[in-house]
């Protein structure tokens, strides 16, 4: 059979109406909105998947993602549309909201001596939990008045070993100011920054598969869960199960922070949206509070 590389075919492969139809479907499924100015971005990625799946046309491919029972191709497309990488202070508007809004609101409901418990999952190579730690220490004036526990988990033991070791590339720390670099890191070799032992020693790293209820059951009474850019890669049922599991991991009135392209509105209605600064996060109802 004659094979040719469709990815080099000239755009457009879809009409404006097909683009609108695709966007409406993708929005319903994921909550991600693409406007007309994103057509090139979206189309490039669809062309790529059309080639990889040997689809005949956009119509053919759309039928596949729309009706495929396994949902595998839809996931592959979502992965391609939402490529993620990890680095220090990624999506830092969330850390802003954490120190200026979430933590101050949280401690209003706490007594002196209660710990504040934060869970970063998946923590990948550690950039997120360390970023949380640095933001709290540097920017929350009440940091010294509370015992703050940061727990960090990932399913991948190799990446967890990297997180524990705490050695990062220049690219990974690219958004860290030189003042903070010299305060919290030591430069080992040209392209390697070692996070200081005090931070390394203050975070509890653990191997956890988020969809295994036996593994997550000990994780209880968290005040804040960061689960960013993971659920977007799950199918609908796994996504529901995971956020419902988080509900039980949270203390009453605890918060979940999701990634920038993830909408709780496509997963569950058991949390209440709350706005802090420029961020919408999700809160478990407090004791005696009705659900939304």
């Amino acid at each position: 059979m004659l094979q040719f590389d469709r990815s080099s075919e000239t755009l457009p492969i879809m009409t404006d109406d097909e683009y609108a139809k695709f966007c409406a479907f993708f929005y319903r499924q994921t909550g991600i909105e693409y406007h007309d100015n994103k057509k090139y971005y979206v189309e490039r990625r669809i062309v790529d998947r059309i080639a990889k799946t040997n689809s005949e046309s956009f119509r053919d491919y759309f039928t596949m993602i729309r009706f495929q029972a396994s949902g595998v191709e839809m996931q592959a497309l979502v992965n391609l549309m939402t490529v993620n990488e990890t680095y220090f202070f990624r999506e830092d508007y969330q850390f802003d909201a954490l120190v200026t809004g979430i933590l101050p609101a949280l401690v209003k409901g706490k007594r002196r001596g209660d710990p504040i418990r934060i869970w970063s999952i998946p923590c990948s190579s550690g950039e997120e939990p360390y970023s949380i730690a640095i933001n709290i220490l540097e920017r929350w004036e009440q940091a010294d008045s509370w015992d703050i526990e940061i727990h960090a988990s990932d399913i991948d033991s190799r990446i967890l070993a990297e997180a524990r070791a705490g050695r990062f590339s220049a690219r990974s720390v690219g958004r860290v100011s030189s003042a903070l670099l010299s305060k919290y890191f030591t430069r080992k070799i040209a392209d390697e920054y070692q996070i200081c032992d005090a931070l390394r020693g203050s975070i509890d790293f653990s191997l956890v598969n988020v969809i295994d209820p036996v593994q997550t059951r000990p994780f209880r009474n968290f005040d804040i869960i960061f689960c960013r850019n993971l659920l977007i890669y799950f199918d609908d049922v796994a996504r529901r199960e995971t956020v419902e599991m988080f509900y039980d991991c949270l203390a009453p009135a605890g918060y979940i922070c999701l990634g920038h392209s993830e909408s709780m509105s496509r997963m569950s209605s058991i949390f209440r949206p709350r706005k802090f600064k420029d961020v919408v996060v999700y809160q478990k109802p407090g004791p005696g509070e009705p659900l939304p």
Binding site: F25, A69, L137, E149, I150, R217, E244, D248, I270
Partner: protein
């Protein structure tokens, strides 16, 4: 004060009792919503518990428990579960009704045998719900079923819902019926808009 290393959450602290189905069914009606949630989740692993989960769904008032019940039912989907969920479409309880629609949308093979009857139900609200289920179903025959609706249903909102579905999944086969529908509901702004949109999105072959 400041950052402290918390003790690793220990599995021993919360023993996971291997509970049998009878113990879980008792927990499913416990006064504490957390206990009911755990029972609803764990019963998702028991094929024999599906009808008990449906019973609980009908009575449950806590939305966090209801959410877990639905997830377990989607996991345990079967024609029997789908049949039971379709009865909730007639409920006056709006969240229950919509939860049933949402769950049924996730079980295409299980719900398919019941759709024909729902799509011709005497109650137009039930027909609208059925069309809403079909419109997002991952089922190859969905476009065909929606086309039959716009050809034969007399109710404007049922047809409008079907046209909305066809604008996403419809193929050229639906075009003639879409054009014909225009004459059945002339002078209806939304229907005209919906038909134009669907025809445009289906495109020409």
């Amino acid at each position: 004060m400041g950052l402290v290393k918390g003790p690793p959450p220990a599995a021993e602290a919360v023993p996971l009792a291997a509970r049998d189905i009878d113990a879980l069914l008792i927990d499913l009606v416990a006064p504490d919503s957390g206990v009911r949630r755990h029972a609803a989740r764990d019963l998702g692993a028991h094929p024999d518990a599906a009808m008990a989960l449906c019973d609980r769904l009908q009575a449950e008032t806590s939305s966090s428990v209801r959410a877990v019940l639905l997830t377990s039912l989607i996991r345990r989907q079967s024609p029997a579960v789908a049949a039971r969920l379709t009865t909730f479409l007639r409920s006056d309880d709006t969240p229950l009704r919509n939860a049933a629609i949402e769950a049924l949308q996730e079980m295409p093979d299980a719900v398919a045998p019941y759709l024909q009857a729902l799509l011709v139900d005497p109650d137009s609200d039930i027909r609208i719900f059925a069309v809403n289920i079909v419109a997002t179903l991952r089922h190859r025959r969905a476009p065909e079923w929606l086309t039959v609706v716009i050809r034969s249903d007399a109710h404007v909102n049922v047809c409008a819902a079907a046209v909305d579905g066809l604008s996403e999944v419809g193929g050229p086969d639906a075009l003639a019926d879409l054009h014909a529908l225009r004459h059945r509901f002339a002078d209806n702004d939304f229907m005209e808009f919906a038909i134009d949109t669907a025809i445009r999105r289906i495109g020409q072959d």
